[in-house]
């Protein structure tokens, strides 16, 4: 099953490579990984999307906790949470595609953030599956380029990951 894991980690040189190294050394999946400093610049917050059996996920959490730089780990799937990812898609916007692209963008509540000769760049946020659905609903030949940030996640309401 897919799990989204949130990590608070010391903002130290090499901290990211410790996490990435752990996943590759132990053969765990990483579907995506995002990281950036928090409001406290000595700490970073990382979101990892991974998948595995309950036993594997349990080991992942334990192994992450074992890393000396890791401050806190939370499996968002243990409760209610919100997942968001940002995607930028550059699509063909020649006469043949233009209206169609505009319409699809509206349906998915995306925004066209750059208009050029023959292309649009669409910005879309949502859960990973919503972004997948958008890509699938476009004519594949019309897609020029996509870039996704990977998911970020946060617990709902009282579920707060803080030290």
């Amino acid at each position: 099953m897919k799990h989204i894991i949130s990590i608070l980690i010391e903002n130290e040189a090499g901290a990211l490579s410790r996490v990435a190294g752990l996943f590759s050394a132990r053969g765990y999946n990483i579907e995506s990984l995002t990281v950036a400093p928090t409001e406290d610049s000595t700490m970073s917050r990382m979101t990892i999307v991974t998948s595995g059996s309950d036993e594997v996920i349990e080991q992942i959490i334990k192994q992450l906790n074992k890393l000396v730089d890791v401050i806190k780990v939370l499996d968002l799937n243990d409760g209610k949470f919100i997942e968001r990812e940002l995607m930028l898609v550059k699509v063909k916007a020649t006469a043949q595609y233009r209206d169609e692209m505009k319409r699809m963008c509206d349906i998915f509540r995306g925004r066209i953030i750059d208009v050029a000769d023959g292309s649009f760049t669409i910005e879309l946020t949502g859960s990973g599956s919503k972004l997948d659905a958008f890509i699938e609903s476009l004519d594949n030949t019309a897609i020029l380029e996509t870039v996704r940030t990977g998911a970020s996640g946060i617990g709902r309401g009282d579920r707060i990951l803080k030290i």
Binding site: N11, L16, G21, E31, E55, K62, V68
Partner: protein, 634 residues
Amino acid sequence: MFRVQYYFLLIQGFMAISSKNAIVNPVSAQTHSDSLDASHKDASHKKTSHNEISGAEIVIRCLNEEKIKFVFGYPGGAVLHIYDEIYKQNGFKHILVRHEQAAVHAADAFSRATGEVGVALVTSGPGATNAITGIATAYMDSIPLVVISGQVPVPAIGLDAFQEVDMVGITRPCVKHNFLVKDVRDIAETMKKAFYIAATGRPGPVVVDIPKDITAHKTSFHYPKSVEMRSYNPVLKGHSGQIKKAIKLLLEAKRPMIYTGGGLVLGDGAPELVKLARTLGYPVTNTLMGLGGYPASDPQFVGMLGMHGTYEANMAMQNCDVLIAVGARFDDRVIGNPKHFLSQKRTIIHIDVDPSSISKRVKVDVPIVGHVQSVLAEMNEALLLETTGTAEKTKNDTKNDISAWWAQIGEWRKVHGGRYEMSDTVIKPQYVIEKLWEVTKGDAYVTSDVGQHQMWAAQYYKFDRPRRWINSGGLGTMGVGLPYAMGCQFADKNAQVACVTGEGSIQMNIQELSTCAQYGLPIKVILLNNRYLGMVRQWQEFFYENRYSESYMDSLPDFVKLAESYGHVGMQITKPSDVEGALKEAFSKKDKFVFMDFITEQSENVFPMVENGRGISEMILGDEKKSDEKKGAK
């Protein structure tokens, strides 16, 4: 699939640029504790005042603060400032090895023998890479070490400078933690953290990589008394509720079993375990790493378990109804095929300081995370209350009756019983170890290399005390034997130290004969010379129809002459009747290094044996299969 790869590339890309972006924030890259004030960040370290000392001297002062007795090392360009300070100090003794791998192994053995943190010092580049096998060996067996490596000057890092290697990167998967110190003002705090991390929780090696220019820069010295790290808080005490649950289960068991590993030895929990086991009267088995955790000569001891464990230990492990694992990790050499192991129902209690060891390979019913010593002490207290505190019952009334289980174990004991075929023409390796045990009165530090001789040493030397059996269990590193013996001899200069080795393994760090000569170490090398990479040959005999591919050891040196060339005593023993006399003679030379070359049976195999992928109760007990084949051929 494509997507996963795609993201992975993204991540790698991210890692490549991360040094400029999210992760490294130049100000916060090195966090400072409250003890160091923030303003110093802007102070230029080039301005020196009279109470400022160099980074190199700070390193030495830190080691002295930690009361380090020995530093095992090898000099080179990047650590020359540090070596200059070593020259000027007398707080610790520096031991000059002949290869950096041996420095780390010796520091590792010093720690295994004493419980103190071992320290090694190596230069950058090749010095650092030579140390890797030593570090990985210590990591796999959870040995606390601080390894200090030199690094090229900060401005040269990343430019493929002479003798540059990314030590932090290369050691990351085989250390508990590592540091690159980029500011002289961070040395003291980093060293303090390194010792703290290495020794606490589940212990392990910590690397401190120090660029050369940092060891020349000056600052004032202040060694923090303690460290606090918000991201690192090892647990100590076990959960009381879980402990009560465990006691209840143990007292209700019909076929109980106590299984202890290296964690019990490293956590100094052996005395508490002995108390617990004796109160309960239950059978005890030790892993290869756990030998000495329970006295081998005690009747409750059923021997080592696992791939080359005793029949009774493996059978009891397989057939017990309540199993308590203490500082052990159910690894593949111990429980064999996990599916087969789990085909028998049993309730498992697991005490370990590392939560990630629990339910990693085998699902556990009662996990107890905590330091073995404190958890066992609490169990002993609870047990005392349970068995004597309530009502007027005497201890014996409540003592759980498991006589049927002991009777069954007694039957299993008769099945193999450590038998081997004696010979009066050729020396049997098992016989050498039995005699070694007798001659040293079971009280030597026994180090071993890796191979058949290691298993025979584990099977036939009866360890009654923890920290006496020193070997590489997790990584299985050939070449550890001699440097391990050095570490033990430095730990206890009057002790008898025996290095049980093979002619393959000893040649992997043979250069250390020179170090032993320099420091006058009276080690006794017990070489079980079978002219084969014996353990490899055994597998080839069993699983590759006797195709002995590259396992014959040709062109061996004359070990006697080799030893003598270093000023040591060399002996070659070829007859079984000479074994005991030779051992006595060697150990009577209290101040001499003696190299004993025992020419042993070439085709001897280690039994019992559990083949890879089999269950632990499916053992091969001897050469029956082989002798049947021989009979058939006649």
